[in-house]
């Protein structure tokens, strides 16, 4: 669990409830000790700068490219993306998508949405979007698992998963379980 900034605790609790052992990662040594990395919700502008300052950008990129399962929620998906539409923002470039930040608008447009995610079953998922990004362009290897307002909001490319919304803010553990299945299979 990347713990540089954001809603780390909420994710740690949700992962533990789903049967994983989850620990915060702030340093290189802590990164080396984990099998998979979740990047929480937070401020992408901030976290991208801090990863660079603390020397974590390149090590994370290398591990994800070597197959370490990675899931980014909201900020985490922006951090993982290939590029950010309309902004000169550094990213890890491990997920072949272009994201648009604050795609739905500023905070006033943040919303709770009953989202259809066929891969997780029939029951709609209670998705919480907060100043959320959407997928503007998805590369050929990227599977779009859910869309909202005509744009991808849940994607997967091999070992990398991205969600625009925050499953850690709901009691519904299906996305956490989806990711943990992927970790176990890796």
């Amino acid at each position: 669990m990347l713990a540089v900034q954001g809603d780390v605790e909420e994710h740690l609790r949700a992962l533990e409830r789903s049967g994983a052992r989850a620990t915060p990662v702030k340093t290189l040594a802590e990164l080396e000790a984990v099998d998979a990395l979740v990047v929480p919700g937070g401020e992408s502008t901030t976290v991208i700068r801090l990863l660079e300052r603390f020397g974590l950008t390149e090590p994370i990129r290398e591990r994800v490219r070597a197959g370490m399962p990675f899931w980014g929620t909201c900020m985490g998906m922006i951090v993982a993306a290939h590029d950010v539409a309309g902004l000169e923002q550094q990213t890890l470039g491990v997920l072949d998508v272009t994201v648009r930040r604050n795609a739905f608008g500023r905070q006033i447009s943040s919303a709770e949405v009953a989202l259809d995610i066929p891969a997780l079953g029939e029951k709609p998922f209670p998705a919480v979007f907060i100043r959320a990004p959407w997928i503007e362009r998805a590369g050929p290897g990227v599977e779009v698992l859910a869309s909202h307002a005509g744009h991808g909001v849940f994607v997967r490319q091999g070992n990398v998963v991205g969600t625009s919304f925050h499953p850690e803010l709901t009691g519904d553990a299906r996305v956490h379980r989806y990711f943990l299945d992927l970790v176990r299979a890796a």
Partner: protein
């Protein structure tokens, strides 16, 4: 300002999305800024949000007069200058200032004792708004009353613009200690404790069970060094507001007096401000690692923290924390 709006299975302005934005700011530093240039420096340093206001608290203190919501065209320029969330302050009880900020599209409103109160009895009814609010508190009762009114985030009041951390420590300890007491109190005591706190029983019960506020708790008021930030994080703050600490330390002074530019804003040394702001961010992120706080402090080399005030020597009327209850 219609509270929760619903259209085709999508609900905006809900309690969850309002509190949720505060959750996304956790572990971060929110910096007071008065100009778009300062906002850009704050973002570059790694701030998670900026707080737009007309004067930083230390200047409100020395200049006196009525402190109001910031000039809206300036708030707009700050919103255009950065990609991180923009917060802005309104006077306690001034719901029309809050309506303006919501219409402008700011991401968070601080109903703040740092500005001159507009209503000496009532706070803004914050639940009616779609935009989230943060409010200051000195103790648990005050925090819970603000949450009932609709605050989506709480911060200690501290004593803004003083450069003195003592009040923030007092408020953070008071809030945490009261939560600790509630969490071990027998259930039959909770009704009486709710009455003493001046807060609804259901909310008191929720806090006792969760052993935390139902919203994010930040520290504000008096943070001026990296070690101050580390102290407050270790005392249980989930993030830090820095008001005057950064841009006061970077103020350009001549013969002991600050210089002002042609627009009336204090002149600052941008590179000192950036270094100072980065140091506070680093210490906040790595608050439990003294070596990292040392490195952050050493990166300041030459920059001096703002001059602090001994609060015991201030007359009662100059204390900001006692505004609003």
């Amino acid at each position: 300002m219609n509270g929760a709006n619903q259209s085709s299975g999508s609900k905006t302005g809900t309690v969850k999305v309002k509190r949720g934005l505060a959750q996304m700011l956790k572990g971060g530093v929110i910096m007071d800024v008065v100009t778009p240039e300062q906002a850009t420096i704050a973002q570059e340093a790694g701030a998670v949000a900026v707080m737009a206001l007309e004067r930083i608290p230390a200047d409100i203190r020395t200049m006196g007069g009525v402190a109001r919501m910031s000039d809206l065209s300036l708030v707009q320029r700050i919103m255009d200058a950065v990609t991180i969330p923009v917060m802005a302050k309104v006077r306690i009880g001034h719901f029309a200032e809050a309506q303006c900020l919501e219409a402008l599209g700011v991401d968070f409103i601080d109903e703040s004792e740092v500005l001159t109160p507009a209503d000496d009895k009532y706070h803004v009814a914050k639940q009616k708004f779609s935009v989230p609010f943060v409010c200051g508190a000195r103790d648990l009762g005050e925090a819970l009353r603000r949450i009932v009114e609709g605050a989506a985030m709480i911060r200690s009041k501290g004593e803004a613009g003083s450069g003195n951390i003592v009040e923030a420590v007092r408020h953070m300890r008071a809030i945490r200690d009261s939560i600790g007491e509630l969490s071990v109190a027998p259930e039959e005591e909770l009704v009486a404790r709710a009455r003493d706190l001046g807060a609804p029983y259901e909310l008191v019960k929720e806090v006792a069970k969760a052993k935390r506020l139902p919203v994010v708790l930040f520290c504000a008021g008096g943070v001026s060094t990296p070690a101050d930030a580390a102290l407050m994080m270790q005392l249980g703050a989930e993030g830090i507001f820095v008001g005057s600490g950064i841009f006061k330390a970077a103020a350009i002074v001549e013969n002991g007096l600050p210089l002002y530019d042609e627009n009336g804003f204090p002149k600052i040394d941008g590179s000192i401000a950036l270094r100072y702001a980065k140091a506070i961010v680093d210490a906040t992120t790595h608050f439990e690692d003294p070596k990292a706080v040392v490195a952050a402090s050493q990166s300041l080399a030459g920059a001096r923290p703002m001059h602090g005030l001994d609060l015991r020597q201030l007359p009662e009327g100059q204390l900001l924390a006692s505004r609003g209850n």
